[in-house]
Symmetry: none
DNA sequence: CATGAATGAGGATTCATTCAT
DNA sequence: AATGAATGAATCCTCATTCAT
């Protein structure tokens, strides 16, 4: 029967609907302030139904986190793979801007990923999911590492530690995004997000590129 | 009478004692998990007394934040003012390492400043305190801005926007500290905190310095 | 058509299957901890189906109780009727041991019958079922009453109230079984279940027998 | 200050008041049906206050149980110690009637002690309290054991196992009380509680006494 | 008949805050 | 000023029961 298939589809839809609602509610209020009740209301289901689809509030958090990281990793992979022959710094530029677009598309998601109670997170979430989150996060960064490695091989960058250089680039972009995303900080300075981001990206790329001429190491 | 003065002093001491207790408790458990009860116990006063000195749990949070920012600003000022005639990038280096030392001295403080539920912060906290936090934060960054300005004036840096360049530097260092401080992220990579920090600092300084030769702007 | 008959048979089988599942689940977890969900799973049907066959969780409880009482009554009847001409106290002995065997065969059943939330039982359960439970319980005891009556008629026992004497015997055996079955109580004393039961049975039989010589009444 | 003392007294009074309320509510509805809310209402305090005085619902249960057992043990001790030189069976009679009076004074308490979810109780309650309950329970029975021992020494009873004989007597009385207390069972028979209890007590005493003449053991 | 998704009324517990003493 | 007892709203989660398919 097609009923079975439809049922399954509907169930998945409902699941997604709750997840979507949870995302909104968590984004708006933060995980701790958000209530399951509010999630249920937003999804237009009863509280009990939420628990029909998800084990606990924490589980939802974990799934949301994972989802976000996956989306980001996917975008980075796409950015990496888009074109075959590309100057190394151009490829890094694309990765950087893919990150920026993710941030723009889902600023609250970004905020959520950053603001999450990181220390306590681990104890609260299913270890398997936690490991997956870790892996996914690493997977995203790996595209950057790979691009840097190409730069080293191709001679664009000096003989530096690829992981370290990738980490620096990423930390910088991350730091900038947090800076512009942070209400407290944004007010401090009249900086334009996009311009600052671009400047930061270029500055680090330049800083990395130059290494070969000067020191050959950080 | 001196009684008046003593009273006032004692009151201030008690206040500080509660604040100290709150810092410890908040650091150990995170703001949400921490209870006023626990703060009171640690300070060896009653719960009611806590409310005699502070309006609410959130107020304490705000003051703690402020305190942290002040400490950091102080350290940055000291780093800036330490020596008169210093090459610009050396001065920025000193500022950068002052930040690193603050992070090392109070890693939990740093974590706390970062992990704080920023969005909701504003609505909850006394606007005056909020503004002070903002000012203090800006004050800290201003030492960096000033140093960059000297670099521009002295010709070390190109004719860039000093605020922007300072922001980039700061965002980078911030991003690196978060990276190494974050348990989830630290596991991802086998990077050494200090080495990464140094590399990042140097990379950005290099990137900023070079501007004049290449493009004159980000 | 035979379909009708088969349908009916199948329905009864399903009913029994659910009842069996409920017994297991209730025994293992106690009535309150047990969930209808667990019963359904054990019976390999859906939750809804359980409600197709039974009005409520409480109804199932009542039926289980009834079933237990019936099993006991059956055993007692068999014990009573086993042999025609039997000295009275021997017949009572057989009844007593039949009870003990029931306890041994279904200790959890016994426990369940005893531990049940008796007070609330009545209001919750179908009055008809409740009355049946009452009748069955009485029916079981009646075999004891009958045996005692024979003892009175035959002169073994004094001219006592047969119902009362039967009640005393039964209460004693019941009390002993509860004593040995009760984890809290069992630990208190190092008594062997079987020996204690036998001693109690014999003691009461002796006590009842002697009446005629002494007082002729309790 | 006397304030301190008064405070302490008031606190204890409040504690007792909540305990009293809990007893009533638990008696009326059974432990599982009873809600902390109902307890609070009955005690005319807020729900939070209940938790100010007691760790959990289970703790209250344990204390109530302990309290009941202590009261019973006290009554039994008094019954035992009332008169010095007393024929052994007279002393046992007094113990038996003390039990009956306890039952009459607190029938719901008795019911509660009996109906308690025995198996699960242990896991739920503080082990220390559990052990105390065990001890207290044993302590009560010990008065009976002691009386029987005197009977053995004095030659009233045969050379039987004192603990076993005491257990039989107690199991019988217990069984009778449960019989008459049990709504389902009481309806079964038109027996008068008091008369049945007396008959049972006398029957067992007789049965125990006779041993020496007949078998000297159960 | 059978299913199983959906419901929603609770229930135990916590904790920031108040206030009489 | 200091206390700490009292509050009660808020929160997560459970589960018996219903009902559309």
């Amino acid at each position: 029967m097609a009923t079975r298939a439809r049922r399954k589809r509907e169930k998945e839809e409902r699941r997604q609907s709750i997840l979507r609602a949870a995302r909104e509610v968590f984004f708006e209020n933060g995980f701790h302030q958000a209530t399951v009740e509010a999630v249920a209301e937003r999804a237009e289901v009863s509280k009990g139904t939420v628990y029909l689809y998800f084990e606990s509030k924490e589980t939802i958090l974990a799934l949301l986190l994972l989802e976000g990281l996956r989306e980001l990793a996917k975008r980075l992979e796409e950015a990496y793979a888009a074109e075959e022959n590309l100057p190394v710094d151009e490829r890094l530029r694309r990765l950087g801007w893919a990150y920026f677009r993710f941030f723009q598309a889902e600023p609250r998601y970004f905020h959520f990923l950053m603001a999450m109670d990181r220390g306590r997170f681990r104890e609260v979430v299913d270890p398997v999911v936690y490991q997956k989150a870790l892996d996914t996060s690493l997977e995203g960064l790996n595209w950057v590492v790979r691009a840097v490695e190409q730069g080293i091989e191709g001679g664009t960058f000096g003989d530096c530690d690829a992981r370290q250089s990738a980490a620096i680039l990423w930390a910088t972009l991350n730091g900038v995004l947090e800076l512009v995303e942070h209400p407290l900080r944004r007010e401090m300075m009249g900086l334009k997000s996009r311009a600052l981001y671009e400047a930061a990206l270029e500055t680090v790329l330049r800083g990395l590129r130059v290494v070969k001429e000067n020191q050959g190491g950080a």
